[in-house]
Amino acid sequence: MARVLINVPRTVRRGEVFEIRALIQHTMETGYRPDAGGEVVPRDIIRRFACAYNGEEVFAAELSPAVAANPFLVFTAVAAESGTLSFTWTGDNGFSQTETRPVAVE
């Protein structure tokens, strides 16, 4: 499992726009780089990131080989009701990781 850092406020006011930050540990190997022996290192990147709010997708991003290692994404959502945010990263070599964080709407 890759290490992640997710920053979501524990409580938000109804209707408020709040910021979500998600950072994941990943090499994002481009597939263009030769190793010490001159062989091209095969591509190994995260292809897609998605964030769902109570099961409904509210934000998604497609990542490319030009994205730096350990991708850090910051985006916003509107607080409608209390629930769970789930974060899913999927990528090459069957990479798939999902993390969840609760949000309480007051």
Partner: protein, 264 residues
């Protein structure tokens, strides 16, 4: 610049503040007397990244290091935590006084070397490879416990090694025939291409370099500089690199530790 530097170290923070006040005499004079962390010369965005623990990628390695700290290792099947307990208490200040004097060998030993020694002697495990992700993770986890504390690598038994480090710092090397001091003492604060030449205070290691897209040790940084002046870098863990580390830490004496720092 040597004079005021020594003065600052001997007489502590009160006099340091007074000396900083005096340094408004001229910009050049200020640059020579005021010690700056590389942090002060970074862009505001990179500074914000370092300050915020949920944006600082180095914290990923701190998490990893914490997991390793609690994992049973080696033939002794013992975790670091079983002897050292809560790292927040037992490891506080440890990174600030490394490289430290090692009574067994009567040599200085860096934090990485100390961790590997502990693994071999007390856990019955193999040493981590230099610059491996595992070694970086444990090192940054330990160093993180000293964040904000002043550097205090001043063991008098290390004086001859520190002097050797000082000599290496002033020694010209490589095809470019440059010494560390020519950039980091004489021309610190000026620009080398687009980047500010830092004073070279190792207060944030192991740190996350955006250029490396990963965490790296002070020895990696030193070896980079050596390759930069086109000399053959000293090997990881060699006496020369530990002595250079030692001199740089005493040169940064009193400055606050930042691990894990972020640098461009």
């Amino acid at each position: 610049m040597r004079g005021p530097e020594r003065f600052l170290r001997r007489f502590g923070a009160g006099v340091a503040a007074a000396a900083l006040g005096l340094s408004f005499v001229g910009a050049d004079e200020a640059r020579r007397t005021e010690r700056r962390s590389g942090f002060d010369d970074m862009s505001r965005e990179t500074q914000a990244m370092q300050r915020d623990d949920t944006a600082n990628p180095g914290m990923l390695w701190v998490q990893e290091g914490e997991a390793l700290w609690n994992r049973k290792e080696g033939t002794a099947a013992r975790a670091c935590a079983e002897c050292h307990g809560d790292a927040a208490a037992s490891m506080r200040g440890v990174a600030a006084r490394h490289p430290a004097f090692d009574p067994a060998t009567e040599q200085p030993i860096g934090l990485e070397g100390r961790i590997n020694r502990c693994r071999q002697v007390h856990q019955g495990a193999d040493a981590f490879a230099w610059e491996s992700q595992d070694l970086l993770a444990v090192t940054v986890f330990v160093a993180h416990q000293s964040r904000g504390m002043p550097v205090a690598a001043e063991d008098p038994r290390l004086a001859p090694f520190r002097e050797n480090g000082r000599r290496l710092f002033g020694e010209r090397l490589g095809q470019l025939d440059l010494s560390c001091a020519q950039c980091h003492d004489d021309n610190a604060g000026k620009r080398l291409a687009g980047s500010v030449v830092p004073q070279g205070h190792p207060t944030g290691y192991p740190l996350y370099r955006l250029e490396w897209q990963g965490l790296g040790s002070l020895q990696r940084r030193l070896r980079n500089c050596m390759a930069g002046v086109r000399s053959e870098p000293h090997a990881y863990g060699s006496a020369a690199l530990v002595e250079l580390e030692l001199f740089l830490m005493s040169r940064a004496g009193g400055m606050a530790l930042e691990a894990p720092a972020v640098r461009p």
